[in-house]
């Protein structure tokens, strides 16, 4: 969510068909490498959905050196959902068949499920937290808006071979004691599911969509349907991981397959995760659109009669990718901006981190009034956000598209636990976003570039971090941050700033290699923070725990300052100007914060000579002294501006001369504005 190499030798195919399904299902033997082909332009008859691998042992995480093979992931779940939208009532009635593969190595008799839509009720944990500390689009202390009511009701719950156990549904609250929260329920099965066995759940449910809020809901005739179906938790590290929905949390789910049939009025244009494989007209003025996807862990869809579907394509190292841009009225001027950003991001990620293995990507542009649905990621589908008046130099639409596309890697494929390790998806992704934006739009102007007014995306992230630099470590569970602002500042801003600083420590090339290794090693799996940090250590070839302990697990402030620079004659008692005067030049550096970091200091002398000095930064201060025939005119810490975490860039340098131009410029602007304000106020007299 937006707040929010090596070339791969083998091309592979992402399409779901009986043939590949059969091959995969039979793949007790080594899985086959399939080549990706262009999807036919016309919808083909719906093939049966890809089923989870029947292999008794799931494939391990993908090798980073070999070709990517089907199935990409350990397919734990297979969802088949039939959903019908009632656009007038803003409701969905659906049936869901979930096949779950018990790969936990132990019998399972209890299953937890998410019911995210129940968060949109006044007494839910989500809404209570939103009221207390705010979240995006909602200020703390905001009252309850009945239009934001949302609900999901399980009408029946049966297990194949075990019967209907609807009455056994029990709401649980693993994160707090809020008995009014109904975002997680669990069922106890009459008999356990044996290891490596399958269990099939048959669920009928009813959704009441909220007016769009927190990524999901409706606005007029626009529908963004996310987190809308009962979704099973993840068996992770020996236990069920199924958190309640919180104001700051996102999601976590197992990989698998999805076969979803969506019935909407015939004039509606739809978009969804995965591939559209068929469209069938129904006699009642509706149509049923079928989407299928595999090796993903969530499914969302959108519908509106006003979408304009812009089609395009991009070819990367894994083959052709079909682009669908579902544009809302009035936003036409942003179409090419979206496409440029998306293709740029596809190319950057493909080249830098690894191939994009899916053959489709859909970008949903929410209409006016529905921006709360914007800036969100789902596998192969992202939501963007713009306005009809968006100036070209304000690169927010581009940033959102680049960010959300980045989540295809950092969340979609490297599927970390967004509840517990939000920094691993949002933070790493924000770092990647900064790199892409700088590459596409130029460093220093990748967020704003209007008539000389500039700002970079990296600066924006650093400023966000500076707003609350020491409240929470990156590793805090997302719902346990001090407040919503701290979650944003730390998870997005500080993580990106921390990684940009790390890049300065180990070098850009090494950083790229480390990120690529992390991606290729952990795609289609659920890595942890330790996996990420260990990969960085390994690729950098050094133990960086001194840095991670402070920047990742700690809340130390990094702030070094040039306290003073001074020149005085060595023979200070003699009159000045005598020939051959030697000066005693001193530069005093002070560590103001608790964060210890090695620094470089660049000292300039009045004859133009430059001396670089190093300091391990451990002591509270250090004095650099030089005896030279010239005087020091400036000293600068981190002259190449690599230490992004430093809280104050202004005190990183000191000059003997007064740098009056900037002060004068601001003073002139301030004065002109104040004179003008005074003249306007004088219109009252």
């Amino acid at each position: 969510m937006r707040r929010s190499s090596r070339s791969y030798p083998m091309r592979f195919r992402y399409f779901i068909s009986l043939a590949s399904m059969a091959l995969v299902a039979a793949a007790a033997a080594p899985s086959l490498t399939a080549k990706r082909q262009a999807r036919p332009e016309t919808a083909k008859p719906a093939p049966k959905a890809a089923e989870p691998s029947q292999a008794p042992s799931p494939p391990p995480a993908q090798s980073i050196s070999g070709p990517l093979t089907r199935p990409f992931s350990v397919r734990v779940v297979a969802y088949e959902i039939n959903a019908k939208l009632d656009p007038k009532k803003k409701t969905i009635d659906a049936t869901e068949t979930l096949r779950y593969h018990n790969l936990t190595g132990q019998p399972l008799d209890t299953f937890p499920f998410h019911l995210y839509l129940n968060a949109f009720q006044p007494q839910s944990t989500f809404m209570t937290e939103v009221h207390q500390m705010g979240t995006r689009g909602t200020d703390s202390g905001s009252g309850w808006n009945p239009a934001h009511y949302g609900a999901i009701t399980v009408k029946s719950f049966a297990i194949e071979g075990m019967g209907d156990i609807t009455s056994q549904i029990q709401f649980i609250h693993p994160d707090d004691q809020n008995v009014n929260d109904r975002t997680v329920f669990q069922v106890k099965l009459p008999k356990p599911v044996a290891p490596n066995d399958w269990v099939t759940f048959q669920i009928a449910f009813h959704d009441q969509l909220p007016e769009v809020m927190e990524r999901t809901g409706y606005k007029r005739d626009f529908f963004m349907v996310g987190q809308w179906f009962p979704k099973v938790g993840v068996w992770w590290h020996g236990a069920w991981n199924c958190h309640q929905f919180h104001a700051n949390t996102e999601f976590f789910a197992d990989f698998g397959t999805y076969d979803v049939h969506i019935t909407v009025p015939v004039n509606y244009i739809t978009g969804a995760v995965g591939d559209k494989v068929s469209t069938t007209r129904n006699p009642d003025g509706t149509k049923t659109v079928t989407y299928q996807a595999a090796d993903i862990h969530d499914f969302s869809w959108t519908a509106s009669p006003r979408f304009h579907d812009v089609e395009d394509s991009w070819t990367g190292s894994a083959g052709l990718v079909h682009i669908h841009l579902l544009m809302s009225p009035g936003h036409e001027s942003t179409t090419n901006r979206y496409l440029h950003a998306l293709k740029g991001a596809l190319s950057y990620f493909d080249k830098t981190y690894g191939p994009y293995p899916y053959d489709t990507i859909t970008v949903v542009d929410p209409p006016n009034g529905a921006l709360d649905a914007g800036g969100m990621e789902y596998p192969t589908l992202i939501t963007a956000g713009t306005s009809w008046w968006m100036p070209k130099g304000v690169l927010e639409p581009e940033v959102v598209v680049v960010h959300e596309f980045g989540h295809q890697y950092w969340y979609g494929m490297v599927a970390t636990n967004e509840f517990e390790d939000a920094w691993l998806d949002e933070g790493i992704n924000t770092y990647s976003e900064v790199k892409v934006m700088d590459a596409l739009y130029g460093p220093g102007r990748s967020a704003l570039n209007i008539h000389g007014l500039t700002a970079s995306d990296g600066e924006e992230q650093r400023l966000s971090y500076l707003s609350l630099p020491d409240t929470d470590p990156l590793t805090r569970f997302a719902w346990q941050y001090m407040n919503s602002q701290a979650y944003g500042a730390v998870t997005y801003g500080k993580t990106a700033t921390m990684l940009l600083t790390l890049e300065g420590v180990i070098g850009e090339q090494t950083m790229q290699r480390a990120m690529r290794t992390y991606f290729l090693r952990y795609r289609f799996s659920h890595p942890t923070g330790a996996d990420f940090l260990n990969t960085l250590n390994e690729v950098a070839g050094q133990n960086l725990s001194w840095y991670f302990d402070q920047a990742v697990s700690g809340t130390n402030i990094l702030d070094y300052e040039v306290l003073s620079i001074r020149s005085s004659g060595v023979k200070w008692w003699e009159p000045r100007g005598k020939g051959g005067t030697l000066y005693d030049d001193t530069v005093l550096i002070h560590r103001k914060g608790d964060f210890v970091f090695p620094i470089q200091v660049r000292v300039r002398f009045d004859d133009g000579k430059i001396v670089n000095a190093q300091w391990d930064g451990r002591d509270r201060w250090i004095r650099f002294s030089y005896v030279r025939p010239d005087q020091v005119i400036s000293a600068e810490i981190d002259p190449e501006h690599k230490i992004w975490l430093d809280r104050n860039f202004f005190n990183n340098s000191r000059t003997t001369d007064f740098q009056g131009l900037a002060v004068g410029k601001l003073a002139v602007y301030y004065q002109i504005l104040d004179q003008w304000a005074a003249q306007l106020v004088a219109w009252l007299s």
Binding site: N368, S653, L661, A678, L680
Partner: protein, 286 residues
């Protein structure tokens, strides 16, 4: 043949341009003094920092925000106070300005401030009346703004909210100008008749403004339009042709616009005075 009131007002403005330069100087000096604490606090943070160079060539907004986040930087209390000080100053001198325009001669300092003092409280009472009239206008603007927000959010037409706000904004501006004209005429009346009752002057000004609305409003509006056009043109020139590091040119352009705006306001005052003399005093027995 007599010139139009606007032209005659412009002539009066030029003949009595010492008023313009003098008020402009006060506007400039007071603003400079108001800016000084903020500028000094900024100098304390970045006056000896190489990082400040990012604001010299180009304008890095991130650097400015970081600067403003520093607790040492003065938040600008004096900057906020200055417009109020200037408002009081203008209340104090407007009587002198109108007398000078009415008599079309340069007043001595004592005479000028004597006139200003004489009408000061009457003008303050007029301002209070104007604020009272503006209150419902502001409420109406707030309501329209909320309506526009709702329209922006709920209408399928993405432009509807903006169109409403823009057209509403233009209407509110025109209404505000009409109100200002009404109160200007009341001030002219107070100075011309030395009447003590503000309400009587307001009643007279309302009737006169309504009766001669076309000619008076056009006199007032076209001068305002001229100042806005000049503002737009200068901003366009500044954005497109003045490099960020050329502070001198930016400063001069800025001061030119401010001088022009002040001149336009005094031009309106002079034009209203001329209009009053020609249209009212020629038909009223003295």
């Amino acid at each position: 043949m007599r010139t139009r009131a606007a032209s005659a007002g412009f002539g009066l403005l030029l003949r009595r341009q010492y008023l313009l330069w003098w008020i402009f100087a006060v506007n400039f000096v007071l603003a400079a003094l108001a800016t000084l604490p903020t500028a000094l606090s900024m100098a304390g943070v970045m006056g000896h920092s190489l990082y400040s160079n990012r604001l010299v060539t180009g304008f890095d907004v991130g650097v400015l925000i970081e600067l403003l986040m520093r607790p040492q930087v003065n938040g600008g209390t004096t900057l906020a106070l200055f417009p109020l000080v200037f408002l009081v100053f203008m209340l104090l001198v407007e009587g002198g300005i109108l007398v000078s325009y009415r008599q079309d001669r340069r007043l001595g300092t004592g005479e000028f401030f004597g006139a200003g003092g004489k009408f000061f409280w009457r003008f303050v009472r007029l301002m209070v009346c104007m604020l009272a009239v503006l209150v419902p206008l502001f409420f109406a603007w707030g309501a329209l703004s909320n309506w526009s927000d709702r329209l922006s959010s709920n209408s399928p037409n993405p432009y509807a909210g903006f169109q409403l706000e823009l057209s509403g904004g233009v209407i509110f501006l025109l209404v505000f100008l009409a109100l200002r004209l009404w109160f200007d005429m009341a001030q002219v009346r107070l100075v011309a008749t030395e009447e003590r009752s503000v309400l009587r002057a307001l009643r007279w000004a309302l009737g006169t403004t309504l009766r001669s609305f076309g000619s008076l409003y056009w006199l007032f509006l076209r001068i305002s339009l001229t100042s806005w056009i000049v503002l737009v043109v200068v901003v366009w020139i500044w954005m497109n042709f003045v490099p960020h590091e050329h502070m001198g040119l930016s400063f001069l352009l800025g001061q030119f616009v401010l001088l022009f705006w002040l001149a336009a306001r005094l031009w309106q005052r002079a034009g209203e005075t001329v209009w009053y003399e020609r249209r009212i005093e020629t038909v009223l027995p003295n």
